[in-house]
Assembly symmetry: none
Homo-oligomer: 181 residues x 4
DNA sequence: CATGAATGAGCGTTCATTCAT
DNA sequence: TATGAATGAACGCTCATTCAT
């Protein structure tokens, strides 16, 4: 699964061949089929597993009672932890969500993630602290900014430091929050 | 080329077959090879053409003398115009920049776009109006947010209106600008 | 189709590979797929075509008004003509009728052949000239005897002569007719 | 071996996989290889065993001194007993005799069966009681008729009764005997 | 002794590319 | 110039066989 994740993230589903995965994993091509019915099943299992981990990462110990800003920090921190823990998983999710070969369960799992984020955004909007834009758009802005930025880190173009991450968080928050000035 | 752009954007390079392109374009498969040496050449020509158009869109009539905010509006407006003009081209650029099959010329063309944006960001940072973050990161934030958001529009999940676009612009600007409060 | 017929007859469906068919037919493996969706479609088309030809061979110019013996001669003659015309087709039908990969249309086509033979046997039984055995059994006896015998001819173990064929016909007829002694 | 016989008879050698046999036999796939060097050895051992049993069935207590008709009854009875005893064995022999993967010993074993039948036919022809046709042809007629008929019984299309079997015997005998009328 | 995970050759099939028409 | 039939390398996948447990 590590090999598949790496390759799917780097080359995409169609650009990754089963022999490639087998070679990277240092197993025979047939072995993969003892564990996954097909390449399509593999990508779905992988996707669900990644998204589930991602959900866990952003929702575990979620400070329900805290203020929006602290909740945003929690979510952002979860995203960072997830992205750092497995640098390919985030990109894999990003590039494969919405793909034509995802099965209903994968779509549903992804929807759970979206639902979680929607709930956060909705609550922020209700409190008048997050801009009154469509939730999808707000999520897209933060998620888009964050993933593209981590792609740069993965590619080694910029170096990830606590300061940088904290500033990026500030930047993303400024993108969605209501400004009083 | 329209057919190829559409398919590459929707299914990716590896998920698009030459016969698919030929069918969509309502020409024979062989005809494509009269105009493009190979599928790889086609995707490169297409990429360069799209990126060049994109550069044109954001840089044409660029207000060199205006202030940063106005310049940002110009760039953002160019991006919107480009995305609206050919709804698939932006997504095609987004998903194919950095692909392994891009040739040096494609990479260089894309770099020209990056250079243009870098110059803008650099100037903004020098004036103390844009955050002192790595330029790549700042571009990624705006670009990432913008493209993800337009993906939603393309998918029909949110409806594009002048108000929405203006608010998104504000949001993106707030993500990169220095806040005085 | 000739190559496929030959190989299916000699090695069976599962024992015949598509590359084998392509090599025998002196075409590329991919070419086969321009004409047949799959190996399974190929075997079905082939089966239907053979059975249809077989039906034509035994039913064309059928002497509806003649006596049973003459009708038997006509059918037997049709079988001989068919078997001689394409020595593999009969064996192909014989070994593939009832196979798990035959589609409904193939089964129906084969049933048409059976129906034709049933009608003949039924009429003979009604006239008291053919034994009062299940029609299926009577057909099996003649068909079984005939095909096994032609397998020998195909294998070169016995030589086909008009006299031999006439004697085999007599033998088959004696197997199904009512004997007055 | 029962599992293998069943599957080879129903799906043919090439259509039967070793895991299929293992599953049907409720053993591990590897276990089969403790008893048979290869799938090919298995089919040969099975073939030889079946043919040997068949020979036993038709030749045990053979009435050497009796007349041809009684000998025919004996052989036919042996065939019936064999076919009833193991409903798949006869079909397995029928469909696998002459197969490309049979080894010399299998071919020789089958030849012993043929020799036994040849001897019977030869003796009958010498006595002027069996038609002066090639022995192979005569055997093919009886064997072909018999096996095709038993295939129907196996498939449940006709029901086997002593009367039916006796009539089939008569029919087969009429196919090979010399008729005085 | 029995197992079943692992293997990789070879299956059925696809598709980028060529070329006669 | 435009075509699409033909190609064969390489795909996703299966399965006869091996071998550590």
């Amino acid at each position: 699964m590590d090999a598949a994740l790496l390759l799917f993230a780097e080359r995409g589903y169609d650009g990754t061949t089963v022999p490639m995965i087998a070679d990277t994993a240092e197993v025979g091509a047939g072995t993969i089929y003892r564990y996954f019915e097909s390449k399509e099943v593999l990508v779905n299992v992988l996707f669900q597993e990644c998204v589930t981990r991602f959900i866990g990462s952003v929702s575990r110990n979620y400070p329900h009672a805290a203020n929006i800003r602290a909740q945003f920090t929690h979510i952002f921190g979860g995203m960072v932890r997830f992205a750092k823990d497995d640098i390919h998983a985030l990109h894999f999710i990003e590039t494969h969500s919405g793909a034509r070969y995802l099965d209903p369960k994968s779509r549903e799992t992804f929807q759970q993630l979206m639902d979680f984020l929607h709930a956060f955004v909705h609550s922020g909007k209700e409190q008048g602290l997050i801009r009154p834009l469509p939730s999808d758009a707000l999520i897209a802005i933060v998620f888009g900014a964050f993933t593209k930025m981590f792609t740069l880190i993965r590619a080694g173009k910029i170096t990830e430091t606590p300061e940088l991450l904290s500033q990026i968080e500030e930047s993303c928050w400024d993108a969605v929050r209501v400004h009083s000035d």
